[in-house]
Structure formats: structure tokens, C-alpha cells
Symmetry: C2
Subunit: 135 residues, 2 copies
């Protein structure tokens, strides 16, 4: 693992999260692989597959964020190898009312990345909230 | 990416999933790093941190599996680098009644791994079901 690669990925994730919050679609899509597989919070069960499908999930989420919801990185842990990396993060993600009712609420995010032509690309994202209905 | 590394990881995940289903705790824990961070289906929001906490989640799950629930890999995709890897998978996971009612139900699983002393170790797991209540 090199410090430089880990820092590049950290910067990439922070820039992506800021763009998710501000509704900047071009920056959200930047550094994402054409063959991305995203496990989103809602279905489809088989995942959101390919960059076109990934692009399509964001407008509804941006509209929700624009109503005053948070999308803030609380912790971010990066494991960067020579050519493949992964990262996991916890984010404050919710409306002010949701976060007031349950301050400990966090979105869990895992990213898988590969280095192509010297540049890190996200090829997998897994987003979820803990299931509060599980016994 | 080497085919050999990807195959080693595929075998590791298949062996782990079989052990989760059969309730073989030693095999579930094998090839897992002491500093593992697991985002489990239920809370805690901050994740299950460390191998002792990871060990403690399994007995309740084994008891549920022993009642006849499925834990079968439906698809598994591995991205293996020289020293870091990640994998994502969809699993049939549920009781016969749950899977009869919703045949498309899948557990989404993402794993992060690193190679230490020539051996792949899982240092991150993210388990979730899609949230069916999200608009």
C-alpha cells in the first residue's frame, strides 16, 4: 500500500460525496468505470449495472438532498494496493428530522476500485442502511 | 490481476458461505483479519469491529440457518490485484417461506481482502438486503 494511492482515493471519495450532496452529476460520474455494479439502498435486487443505469439513479436522490438532507462523510477507511483498492465509509445521510430522531443513523458505503492507465476508477459501490426490523 | 489469485478468492468465499450455512464457526473465521470491519444486516450503525465482535455475530445466524434457511451464492465477481482485492456477490438467503413469497430476494455481499505473507485475508464485509420501504 502506498500513502499516495490511499490519499488519491480519499480525495476521490470526498469529491464524489460533495458532488452527491450538491447535485453535480458530472463529478459524481467522474472516475467511475463503464462496468460499475452498484448495490443501491433500494432494489433492484441484482444491482444497478453499468454506467448508464448508475447515472439514472441520481436525479431522484439529488432532489431529496436539495430538500435539506445531509450527505457527510463521518469516517473513511482506504485499503490501497498496487492496482486494486477498496474503501469503506460511514456517512451522516438523512433529513434533519430523521437525524434528530436517530442521531446515530449512518449510511454504510463500500467502494471497490481498480487502477487503469495510472488512474483510480470506482467499479463497485455498495450503499445500505442497517435493517432496524431484523430481530 | 492474476487468474490464480481470483480463483483462490473464489474458493475462499465459496468455502466461507458453505460454513455459514452449516454453522462451522472455525471455517467462517478462517482467513479473516483481526482488524475486520463488518457492516452487518442489522445494527450497530458503526459496524462490527474486530475479530472477537465478528465471531459473536454468528451463533444467532447459525440457529436461524439450521431452521432451514438458504445461504447460497447466486453470483460472485472477484477483482484481484497484486496485494488487495474485492469481491461482490448476490446470495439466496432466506427461509423457504420468504423465498417463495419473493423469489428475487437476494442478500448483497461485498468483501475487501488483502494479501499477507502470500495468503488472502478478508478485512471487510458488507452485508445488506435492499430496502423495500425506500420510495
Amino acid at each position: 500500500m502506498t500513502t499516495d494511492d490511499a490519499q488519491q482515493i480519499r480525495t476521490l471519495v470526498e469529491r464524489w460525496a460533495a458532488a452527491v450532496h450538491s447535485g453535480d452529476l458530472d463529478t459524481v460520474l467522474d472516475a467511475h468505470a463503464d462496468d460499475i455494479v452498484m448495490y443501491d439502498v433500494p432494489p433492484p435486487f441484482a444491482g444497478v449495472r453499468g454506467i448508464d443505469a448508475y447515472r439514472a439513479v441520481w436525479p431522484d436522490f439529488f432532489a431529496w438532498q436539495a430538500q435539506g438532507a445531509a450527505f457527510e462523510i463521518d469516517s473513511l477507511d482506504v485499503t490501497a494496493g498496487t492496482d486494486v483498492a477498496f474503501a469503506h465509509a460511514l456517512l451522516r445521510c438523512g433529513t434533519p428530522a430523521e437525524l434528530a430522531e436517530r442521531p446515530e443513523l449512518r449510511l454504510r458505503l463500500t467502494l471497490g476500485l481498480r487502477k487503469e492507465a495510472g488512474r483510480w476508477l470506482v467499479s463497485h459501490e455498495h450503499h445500505s442502511f442497517p435493517d432496524l426490523t431484523t430481530p
